[in-house]
Amino acid sequence: MVGIVIALVMMNILLLTLTGKYSASLGGLGRGTMVIISPLQESLTVFVQSVKLIWYQYFFLVSTAEENRELKKMLAESRLRFSQYDEARIANARLRQLLDFEETTPLPMIAAQVVGKDPSHWSKTLILDKGTVHGVHHGFPVVVPDGIVGMVIDASGHFSKILLLTDPNSAVDALVQKTRVRGIVKGSGKNICTFDYALRKFDVDVGDVVVSSGLDGVFPKGLKVGRISDVTRMDAGIFQHIEVAPDVDFDILEEVFIVTASSLPEFSETP
């Protein structure tokens, strides 16, 4: 019995090692899952957002109106109107920013909405509502006006999975904008990335902007990655330890842009 269990464990580890190494062969199964589950995730997300909207904009105001009906009614109306204006103003600003970004960007991009998030804390992925029928394929970069979000790692007909910049498996070839020091920005699993392979002799300061170099063939040159948040120069070693804080807030991402270009021109770098 014990022998059988040990054999099964060994076989399981071997199979997982193989699937980890040759993940493409099982991509179909993963995509199949996405095709079935992601529409449900999308519906649930939309439903919950609608319920939240109704709750905050209607029921909450109705329940408070019971205390002083007339006064509260007026207050409720003003609040509702204010809330709608405020929501419209925020949405307007956000969409305007997205639109400006889309218009000033020399790349063909499509907007996508986040419909699902990674079930595990250990890997950082998102499910988007655009897939191969919209022209999205594996390896396409995903961006927002604040900078790089990640890249598409799997795509089904109407949905795609993206690996975030903060995932430990993510890497972007990058430059420090001011000094042109080159390195690789890697995810750490937290909301901070590391900037590896920057030689000690180069001058790098906290607050310096880090942009993509375009040399990895995935992300266009000049896209903002983040700002340097910590620099440690140790006595030994040829590299310095640098941490980069991405400007993108990955926790509140709702809309993103998928760059659908096969050839990637440069972005105009803006400090």
């Binding site: 199979l15 699937t19 993940s23 595990s120 750490s188 926790d251």
Partner: protein, 175 residues
């Protein structure tokens, strides 16, 4: 019918944790499928539970960014382990249920953390992962039995509805 019911519950749990719960810095968030696997192992028959475990594992693997097959393997091992344990212990005992959930959540968190550690060298020292695993195990052990209790109640409700439905049909048929 029963398998379908169990699969729908499984699907609801997965949707709940990948849309409403996921996101942010919720490191305490453990996989709800862990307690569900315990529930399936102690309350359901093989022919109903195994397909649900397999489908649930495949769905979680498809949605997750980790190694494909990781969740499937973990669920199957948890299921097999719990089935073995309840051969020797009384599965209705709340203490046994709590211990089983504790073991399963610990096993799952540790296995996934280990895979992350092995596959991604940039993740840093292993000590960094311990508080996260600890939090997940704690919350799993504290809230897992309540989830299991809820699942048992749902199951009883569905069972009584199913029984009433078939009894009515039988009585009407006699008439």
């Amino acid at each position: 019918m029963r398998t379908l019911f169990l699969f729908i519950i499984c699907l609801l749990l997965i949707l709940f944790q990948t849309t409403l719960l996921a996101g942010g810095d919720r490191t305490w968030l453990y996989d709800l499928m862990g307690p569900y696997a315990v529930y399936l192992a102690i309350r359901q028959r093989h022919e109903h539970a195994v397909p649900v475990i397999v489908l649930g594992g495949i769905i979680m693997d498809g949605l997750s960014g980790g190694i494909f097959g990781m969740y499937l393997s973990i669920y199957l091992w948890m299921y097999a382990g719990v089935r073995q344990v309840i051969k020797y212990f009384h599965a209705e005992n709340i203490l046994i249920v709590m211990i089983l959930i504790f073991l399963c959540v610990s096993f799952e968190s540790a296995a996934i953390a280990f895979s992350v550690l092995v596959l991604t060298p940039v993740i840093g020292p292993a000590e960094r992962l311990l508080p996260i695993v600890g939090k997940q195990v704690f919350w799993g052990t504290v809230t897992g039995p309540f989830l299991l209790f809820l699942l048992v109640r749902c199951d009883r409700l569905a069972h009584s509805m199913e029984k009433r439905h078939f009894t009515d049909r039988y009585v009407l048929g006699k008439r």
